[in-house]
């Protein structure tokens, strides 16, 4: 199994570069800049310094004793990406791409956001680097993530609502791509997940793989052995690729958890392996929820960050290779997992991460001496309104 894509950005048949000709020049420019930066010790040391001094790396690996004991089985460890500055793993990638944008002489950054975590992280690095910042966000997501919208504005970003299509993440990405085609000269598109045309899936993974590198070292220190299972939620799949990557050569089971939403029908969930098929969306060939006529399907998840029709191409390939397996947690299971983790460990996870926690809760009972490592990719502050609506009893105390 080759850990890298081919020079065209293909993971097996997946990935590649499917964009209109007008976008090719900036993508080729980005690829060249990224390949040069990746091999530049100066770039790497500046990024490491920022990750440590600004973002708060390394993040702790925490043994969730009470959760583990209450489930009566496996030992559950949590990789605490929720403790990073801005509250999620997204900042890892944003710092990397901001340094890259500066190298390329770009002064304006555009980004898409679903839950708002990537938008906040982008707005944050733009404030730090003095870039102009425009974040595209579906109007549906603006309505359900108001706190993050305000945070972005406070950080100096312009948040542009997208009214087209399903008014969620997919439409925000399309609008960001349209902006990029129009303003390629001075603008860098800071894509937030392992999606889109090559080099994005590889580049974003490389900026996120520090999660798994740290976790692998930390679990060896704590337990003297590798975990049996690594679990992460998968929207586009950047936190999952981030934690999976260091474990790819090991005999460790890798599990991605998609958004099971509120039903089995297309449109009621964002589980690409329940009804999806290979296709091309927004620059990449991968597994995508679509109808029989090749129109991209609407998706649903209580978690805006997982509410996307396509899974990243490297995940599609890991799935085909049976190197990783993919399952889903429903809206209700994710909400329950958030409540359980809050009460047993004092950690309120993001709704996205709650999907991964839900899978650990299913697997742990009776799993004896097994070790499960869960990536808690973000914290739950942004989701408090949704939690309030779903736990009405708590408001009455």
């Amino acid at each position: 199994m080759t850990p890298q894509p081919d020079p065209g950005g293909h993971f097996g048949p997946y990935g590649g570069r499917y964009v209109p000709e007008v976008l090719m020049a900036p993508i080729e420019e980005l690829e060249a800049a990224y390949l040069a930066a990746r091999d530049d010790p100066g770039f790497r040391s500046e990024l490491t310094h920022l990750l440590h001094s600004y973002a708060g790396r390394p993040t702790p690996l925490y043994f969730a004793r009470h959760l583990s004991e209450s489930l009566g089985g496996a030992r559950i460890y949590l990789k605490r990406e929720d403790l990073l500055h801005t509250g999620a793993h997204k900042i890892n990638n944003c710092l990397g791409q901001a340094l890259l944008a500066r190298r390329m002489g770009k002064r304006r950054i555009i980004a898409e956001t679903g839950a708002g975590q990537h938008g906040v992280a982008t707005a944050t690095v733009c404030a730090l680097f003095g870039f102009e910042c425009v974040v595209y966000m579906g109007e549906e997501d603006i309505a359900r993530q108001r706190l993050n919208v305000f945070r972005m504005r406070m950080l100096g970003a312009k948040v542009v609502g997208v009214a087209g299509g399903s008014r969620t993440l997919k439409d925000a990405i399309s609008e960001a791509m349209r902006d990029w085609v129009t303003n390629v000269e001075d603008t860098h598109y800071l894509l937030g997940s392992v999606l889109g045309a090559h080099p994005y899936p590889t580049m974003v993974r490389d900026f996120q793989k520090i999660i798994g590198e740290e976790a692998r070292r930390q679990i060896l220190e704590a337990e003297g052995r590798l975990p049996d299972t690594v679990v992460a939620c998968v929207g586009g799949g950047s936190n999952a690729m981030g934690i999976f990557h260091a474990f790819l050569p090991d005999a460790v089971q890798l599990i991605g958890v998609e958004a099971g939403g509120r039903g089995e029908a297309i449109g009621e969930h964002a589980a690409r392996y329940r009804g999806g098929a290979p296709g091309v969306l927004q620059g990449a060939y991968s597994f995508v929820l679509q109808n029989a006529d090749g129109q991209i399907a609407l998706t649903h998840s209580v978690s805006a960050g997982l509410d996307y029709a396509m899974i990243g191409p490297e995940h599609a390939w890991l799935h085909d290779q049976e190197r990783a397996s993919y399952t889903s947690a429903s809206d209700a299971e994710a909400l329950e997992a958030a409540r359980v983790l809050s009460r047993t460990e004092g950690i309120i996870p993001a709704l996205e991460s709650s999907h991964a926690v839900a899978e650990a809760i299913k697997r742990a009972p009776g799993a004896g001496e097994k070790i499960i490592l869960v990536n808690v990719s973000g914290r739950g502050d942004k989701d408090i309104d949704i939690y309030r609506r779903n736990f009405p009893g708590l408001d009455e105390a």
Binding site: V19, K170, G294, Q295
Partner: protein, 267 residues
């Protein structure tokens, strides 16, 4: 040779320029598409780009986005567009170019599409998000069924990419006039002149320029430089405006004629 090749041969012999008209098939509904195409042909359109609506049209501006949403809401499918092409072909010899995003084609099956498109009387395809790097299977499938493959070149295209576009294109080459998505503009971009010059050194194929062309004076200016001019959003906007008006076909024909007169000939 397809009807597209023959068209450009005729244009050259006659010393004329071609008007290429884009229409989103299924907008406002698929059963009206053949009549709208015929109206544009009566107005002087020499070649029709039959646009397949797609849920996520990243290269399109708001006018064509709205048209696509409306076409999809009216139940338009790729199969339906091929049926409309067959109807058009039964009444007209106008060259037809299928203009589509890749995913509906991937889902339909590349080879099956090439066979069915050829059978429906379509002459060629332009897949807007199929880059030349990823296009080999597609070009082979289209060639097997005698269809032209038209690729886009942009002002930002590198020399290497222009060479690939020239190598893989048949029929004509579509030059994008400027940066950005589809949509009308007040003024033409100056970025296209160097692109035209560069492509002339790489290919003997006819060149067409599109994106942002919405007025007869744009047609006049570009008609001096290339073999054909593409108008899309301006026509789609007119269809949107008159969608519920019985005068739609008449208005469309008149506007097409106005554009065509930009070349200085009477249709």
């Amino acid at each position: 040779m397809t009807r597209i090749g023959r068209l450009f041969e005729c244009l050259q012999l006659d010393g004329r320029k071609g008007l290429i008209a884009y229409i989103t098939a299924g907008h406002p509904s698929l059963d009206r598409t053949p009549a709208l195409v015929e109206a544009m042909v009566r107005g002087g359109a020499d070649l029709i780009e039959l646009g397949v609506p797609f849920s996520d049209p990243i290269a399109d501006g708001p006018v064509i986005q709205r048209a696509g949403e409306r076409a999809l809401a009216a139940g338009t499918t790729l199969r339906g567009v091929l049926d409309a092409a067959r109807t058009i072909r039964s009444r007209s010899e106008v060259p037809l170019l299928l203009f589509t995003y890749l995913n509906p084609v991937v889902r339909y099956g590349l080879d099956r599409l090439a066979a069915d498109a050829a059978a429906a009387g379509i002459d060629g395809c332009l897949l807007i998000d199929a880059s030349v790097e990823e296009a080999q299977d597609y070009v082979a499938a289209m060639q097997r069924h005698g269809l032209d493959t038209v690729f886009l070149a942009a002002p930002t295209s590198t020399r290497r990419r222009m060479e690939l576009v020239a190598r893989y294109s048949t029929g004509f080459i579509y030059l994008v006039s400027r940066r950005g998505v589809t949509g009308e503009r007040e003024k033409l971009s100056g970025a296209v002149a160097p692109l035209i010059q560069a492509m002339r050194t790489l290919t003997g194929l006819p060149l067409a320029v599109g994106f942002g062309i919405s007025r007869p004076e744009h047609v006049t200016e570009l008609g001096r430089q290339v073999e054909a001019v593409v108008v899309g959003s301006a026509l789609v906007r007119l269809i949107e405006r008159y969608a519920d008006d019985p005068a739609l076909e008449q208005e469309l024909e008149a506007f097409t004629r106005e554009l065509k007169q930009g070349f200085g000939v009477t249709a």
